[in-house]
């Protein structure tokens, strides 16, 4: 009988020990993040699911099991469908507009002109604006008697508009604030993406004598598509979570015309202490964002061009 070679045994031994050691050390480096994500992201998501199946007391303790009653009550409620409609409409108003506006500004700011840095600073400035500060500034501009917008209307002989108090107008007023606030971040990313495009591509296009619009369509947008995709995805997720400007400007009103789902669940949980229905809305919000993001990635697979 031939003896087993020693070297393979030793190699295997070392490998096994190394493997275990690597796992232990890897987890050690990851432990603080895992702990915090577990406590403040995964556990609460599970707990929200759990709470949505119960009626709770004002401290959030489950009292009686109600199964899917919180969900059926929501789906049967006109108020809930209104907030879904408002949320969807708000997202549709704000995301495409702010991305397109940011792209326009990025294309402008990407030109090689004297003093361009000054404009880049201005275009990205809203990234430094908090929702609290922004909402207050715009609230003043929308003020019915002193606000700038009504001053301008009066200048042209037009009547005052109650921007934040008319149900058909308020959502547009809040959307404009949101678009303005989000443009800075999108602009910054898109400008960075534009600057990463190889100049040689444009030189070839210039030699060939193609128009600006042709090179925009055939060079700029395809090469920029990964960045556009990233920016669109981030803004989509952000738009579903809009809260601060609505809290300050309209408090979900007038007549719930700006009552997005986040504001609705906030009121149910922290003003009305109905943690069960609020948790159900939180779960629905999660699935809403998940579905939209999956759709976004499906579209991205077809449209995004990675070099």
């Amino acid at each position: 009988m031939s003896a087993m070679p020693r070297v393979p045994i030793q190699t295997k031994h070392v490998k096994v020990v190394g493997s275990k050691w690597q796992l232990a050390e890897g987890l050690l480096y990851l432990l603080p993040s895992i702990l915090l994500l577990a406590v403040f992201t995964f556990y609460p998501m599970i707990r929200a699911l759990y709470m949505s199946l119960f009626n709770t007391d004002s401290q959030g303790n489950p009292l009686t099991f109600s199964g899917f009653a919180n969900y059926t009550a929501l789906f049967g409620s006109e108020r809930f469908w209104n907030s879904m409609k408002v949320t969807g409409y708000f997202v549709l108003l704000t995301v495409p507009t702010s991305v397109i506006l940011a792209l326009f500004l990025a294309l402008l700011a990407n030109e090689k002109l004297k003093g361009i840095g000054f404009f880049r600073t201005i275009f990205s400035s809203t990234m430094g604006m908090s929702v609290g500060a922004s909402a207050i500034i715009w609230m003043f501009m929308y003020n019915p008697s002193m606000g700038l917008f009504n001053r301008l209307l009066n200048l042209f002989g037009l009547e005052d508009v109650q921007w934040l108090l008319e149900p058909n107008i308020a959502i547009y007023a809040v959307a404009i604030v949101t678009i303005w606030m989000h443009t800075g971040f999108s602009f910054l990313i898109l400008l960075g993406g534009l600057q990463n495009i190889d100049d040689k591509l444009y030189e070839s296009a210039r030699i060939a004598g193609v128009s600006y619009w042709y090179s925009l369509r055939k060079i700029t947008l395809p090469m920029l598509s990964p960045t556009l995709f990233f920016v669109s995805t981030v803004q989509l997720i952000n738009a579903f979570q809009t809260f601060g400007q609505i809290d300050i400007l309209t408090a979900g009103g007038p007549l719930e015309s700006t009552n997005v789902i986040v504001y609705s669940l906030y009121k149910d949980a922290f003003i009305n202490y109905k943690f069960g229905p609020a948790s159900a809305q939180a779960v629905i919000l999660f699935f809403l964002v998940l579905i939209v993001t999956v759709i976004q990635f499906r579209i991205g697979e077809k449209k995004v061009h990675y070099q």
Binding site: V39, F40, A48, S130, F243
Partner: protein, 270 residues
């Protein structure tokens, strides 16, 4: 570039710049106006008196709020930088079984809207006795999947062979992390640091929920309170407070804009 095109571009830039900056500029101008001027709808203040600024600090503990928010923002920034860089290092340089799955779990937390977890998190923090404490304002935000993702992208640009060479030379893993990986990644760390500070300084919903005491109040909630109290009486003072609150983040953005643009774009695409 032709002169006509250049002129056209400058016109577009000027108009766009004016529209983007106008709300901030307008707030700045109103912060110097007396009540009467505001009511008359003036655009330019008659004098650049600092009365509204001193009034803003007198009527509300604005210094305290600013101090609180600086403290919270710096703590979260430090925590996020530390935890995200350690996690990113593990994902790139420590090849252990299951790390791809674990990374996917990390990234999946970016898909969970903060507002979906705000109710249970509030109850958790309440049960831990953290209401009205800096702990509640900082600890929940120190783990960052976005930061981990960004730094992982950066760390992947460092050759693995360099790491293997240091292992052969007997340099410890942590020493490689501290003395080589972090210095090489200064730009990305700086980018993420600015981003972290900005988002924490500007946070609104969570501070609204977990603080109701002045001693720990942050500037954003302070502004909301001030606006609610001063409504239709002293817009000049409110705007002065607004200007004071946005100066730190606008300055940070002004000085860090180029870095932020490069760092965030690289992280987004690679």
């Amino acid at each position: 570039m032709s002169k006509a095109k250049k002129t056209g571009l400058y016109i577009l830039l000027t108009v766009s710049g004016f529209l983007m900056i106008f709300p901030i500029l307008y707030a700045f101008l109103i912060s110097f106006m007396q009540g009467g001027e505001v009511l008359q709808g003036k655009i330019i203040p008659s004098s650049f008196s600092l009365e509204n600024y001193s009034a803003a600090f007198e009527r509300t503990p604005l210094f305290l709020y600013i101090g609180n928010t600086f403290l919270v923002s710096l703590m979260v920034m430090a925590g996020e930088l530390a935890l995200a860089s350690l996690a990113a290092f593990a994902f790139v340089f420590i090849r252990f079984k299951g790390r791809e799955l674990l990374f996917f779990l990390f990234i999946s937390t970016m898909m969970i809207p903060g507002e979906s977890t705000v109710i249970p998190n509030f109850l958790t923090v309440q049960q831990l006795g953290w209401i009205n404490s800096f702990t509640a304002l900082t600890v929940p935000f120190m783990a960052s999947a976005f930061g981990t993702f960004l730094l992982r992208q950066q760390f992947k640009t460092i050759p693995y062979e360099l790491y293997e060479a240091t292992r052969v030379a007997g340099i410890s893993r942590f020493r490689f992390f501290w003395n080589i990986v972090l210095p090489i990644s200064r730009t990305t760390l700086f980018t993420f640091g600015i981003y972290s500070f900005l988002t924490t300084w500007n946070m609104y919903l969570w501070p609204l929920l977990v603080t109701n005491d002045e001693s720990v109040r942050t500037v954003q909630i302070g502004l909301k309170q001030m606006q609610a109290q001063e409504l239709s009486t002293d817009w000049g003072v409110v705007m002065a407070a607004v200007i004071v609150v946005i100066i730190p983040t606008l300055l940070l953005l002004f000085f860090g804009q180029k870095q932020l643009r490069k760092g965030l774009t690289q992280g987004a695409i690679k």
